[in-house]
């Protein structure tokens, strides 16, 4: 079984042509109604097989007959035991909604398109980050040089204050109205 991504609280896997959805429901306090609501949501996802992953605490609420009758699998995760703590209590049955070959191609094409666009986005954001980092470093060097020059020139106080206020504060603080109000106090 191959990991194929995640969405919300659902992990997706590929098992051959089967798409397997594993819904995660980890909570300090389990609610019976919530548990079955999640099972219902999982069945509506259109996956070939669905599993619900829970902590051992949830077992009190699990009705194995319901799970088996609906072909929903149950995975119990005991974090204290690490990797050994993952146990498949009930195996899922493949659900009747078989995927037609045509649809598979369409899905493959859509997935490919999505991956390409995602890759591009990651590339762009990486470029943006590197650019910002370099700009920031250049800005710091510039500022340091400027400070040295200013010290040499020993500019009059008015000019110095102007130079300071020209530096734009970071993320959001500059737009905060309180900054203006506080600055006007003396």
């Amino acid at each position: 079984m191959k990991y194929a991504g995640e969405g919300g609280e659902v992990l997706w896997f590929e098992e051959g042509l089967n798409r397997v959805a594993v819904g995660i429901y980890f909570a300090d306090l389990y609610e019976e109604a919530e548990l079955y609501k999640r099972v219902g949501a999982l069945m509506g996802l259109g996956a070939s097989k669905v599993f619900l992953a829970v902590l051992p605490d949830a077992l009190a609420f699990v009705d194995p007959r319901y799970f088996k009758a609906n072909g929903v699998g149950l995975v119990v995760v005991d974090p204290a035991k690490g990797v050994d703590g993952v146990e498949v209590k009930i195996f899922a049955r493949a659900r009747p909604a078989a995927v037609e070959p045509l649809k598979i191609d369409a899905v493959k094409a859509a997935l490919h398109e999505y991956l390409a666009s995602e890759l591009k986005r990651v590339e762009e954001s990486l470029f943006e980050k590197v650019k910002r980092y370099v700009d920031q470093r250049i800005e710091e060097v510039k500022r340091a040089l400027q400070a040295v020059e200013e010290a040499k020139r020993a500019a009059p106080p008015v000019q110095r204050a102007a130079a300071e206020s020209a530096q734009e504060p970071r993320g959001g603080i500059g737009e905060n109205e309180w900054v203006k109000i506080l600055r006007s106090k003396r």
């Binding site: 306090l29 605490d57 009190a60 300071e164 603080i173 109205e177 309180w178 003396r186």
Partner: protein, 430 residues
């Protein structure tokens, strides 16, 4: 000369909350947190003493979640030696141990951020304290940082009230901040500054919701669980509901109790069930925070099972029975008539006592805090209710810290601390 660029790097915010201290420099996205408590290293067996670093042993006290946990099992009398210095955000003047813990926390927070920059001239520390903090607390906090200036580089220190910090973080210049903590609720009107005359405090909060949960658990037959604060807190969070209107909610719950029956699993072996005949009491848990003036809640008070009474901290009276909407209106009445409307335009709720959720399908009888306050205002003063926008802060835990660092960044260093205006910077003696 301290430049803006410098202040964007070396402004340090500390929010002394009753349960947690939130702290860190302005450069962080989120502050670090440490529990507001200290463990005195007394009554230690010799064998344990040998394992403790000498400087820690000399100070006789540890703070920090990990550090406290490390020594907790070695200290014999935990009850006596584990000290929570703040009650309702205030430390008593003569409580020497509390002040030692606060000093140790101040040291601990600064020590987490060593600076090696040769241009570092010292931190600009902005401390947020409860709006109820009396003058002596301001003085004592300044003294603490004066003393720490020998150990750490501290350029200047300022103190601001927590509601003002929330307003700054929310970028709200005219507003009413309603801060609901564990022990009390503070209503603070703000117009370009905190309006102290309008400060109204209620001697209720999350703790009262816990207290009534405890009594309900005892009635249902879970006296053993009711003894444990942690369990009570879990039950409160899981089953507590805020009613839109208590009478209607109770009527609905009594006519169709099955809809409100619920179970909470506290551990693999403990489960609490709220049975049909008690399903309606779920609404009392949330309602007590907003308005305890109901027969159903009064009966607990009359039987001396709950205590809701006035208290005095410094020069502020904390009202026990006043409902939240009345507190907001009382607070606004103490604001100059000319600006009342402007101040009332935004009511901002913050703090853990206002974090309630509505389970799906119960929207007709239960409400979240914002809706509950709106409904109460509509009942008490429709004219006011039509003009206000009630909302919850975006980051309940961090907004005070965020406001504090912005304040520290913007307040001009030329402004020296004044005891009358409670504004400005204090420069530690070196």
């Amino acid at each position: 000369m301290i430049s803006d660029a410098y202040r964007l790097k070396y402004t340090f915010g500390v929010d002394f909350g009753t349960s947690y201290v939130k702290y860190g420099p302005i450069t962080l996205n989120e502050p670090k947190m440490v529990q507001t408590r200290g463990l005195f290293l007394r009554d230690l067996p010799e064998s344990v003493k040998m394992r403790i670093p000498p400087d820690v042993l000399a100070r006789g006290l540890v703070v920090g979640d990990e550090e406290v946990r490390k020594y907790l099992s070695s200290v014999r009398d935990v009850q006596r030696n584990l000290k929570y210095p703040l009650k309702d955000g205030v430390a008593r003047r003569d409580d020497e141990e509390a002040w030692r813990v606060l000093k140790e926390l101040a040291r601990y927070t600064l020590a987490q951020f060593p600076v090696s920059d040769p241009e570092f001239a010292g931190w600009l520390v902005a401390v947020a304290l409860s709006a109820l903090a009396p003058d002596y607390m301001y003085k004592a906090i300044f003294d603490i940082y004066d003393e720490l200036a020998n150990e750490f580089k501290i350029y200047a220190v300022t103190i601001l009230p927590q509601p003002l910090a929330v307003a700054i973080a929310e970028n709200a210049v005219n507003c009413v901040i309603v801060e609901g903590g564990h022990g009390n609720i503070q209503v603070a009107p703000i117009s370009f500054a905190l309006i102290r005359e309008g400060l109204v405090a209620l001697n209720r909060g999350g703790a009262e919701a816990n207290a009534i949960t405890r009594e309900i658990l005892k009635d249902i037959g879970y006296s053993d669980i009711a003894r444990e604060e942690y369990a009570v807190e879990m039950v409160k969070r899981a089953v507590g509901l805020v009613p839109r209107r208590l009478k209607e909610a109770i009527r609905a719950a009594k006519s169709d109790p099955d809809r409100f029956v619920t179970k909470v699993r506290l551990s693999p072996v403990v489960e609490v069930e709220i049975p049909r005949e008690y399903a309606w009491t779920r609404f009392l848990i949330g309602e007590i925070v907003f308005d305890p003036n109901h027969e159903e809640i009064k009966s607990y008070i009359e039987q001396s099972r709950l205590r809701i009474e006035n208290a005095v901290i410094g020069d502020v009276t904390l009202y026990g029975e006043m409902d939240v909407a009345s507190a907001i209106i009382t607070s606004l009445r103490n604001v100059s008539v000319e600006i009342q409307e402007r101040v009332a335009s935004q009511i901002i709720l913050s703090g853990g006592a206002f974090s309630w959720r509505v389970p799906p399908g119960m929207e007709d009888v239960a409400a979240d805090s914002v809706t509950r306050v709106k409904i109460a205002l509509e009942e008490k003063s429709p004219a006011l209710a039509s003009k206000v926008e009630v909302r919850l802060v975006s980051e309940p835990q961090y907004s005070v810290w965020r406001g504090a660092v912005i304040y520290g960044y913007a307040l001009p260093l030329s402004l020296e601390w004044s005891d009358t205006t409670r504004e400005g910077w204090r420069f530690p003696r070196r």
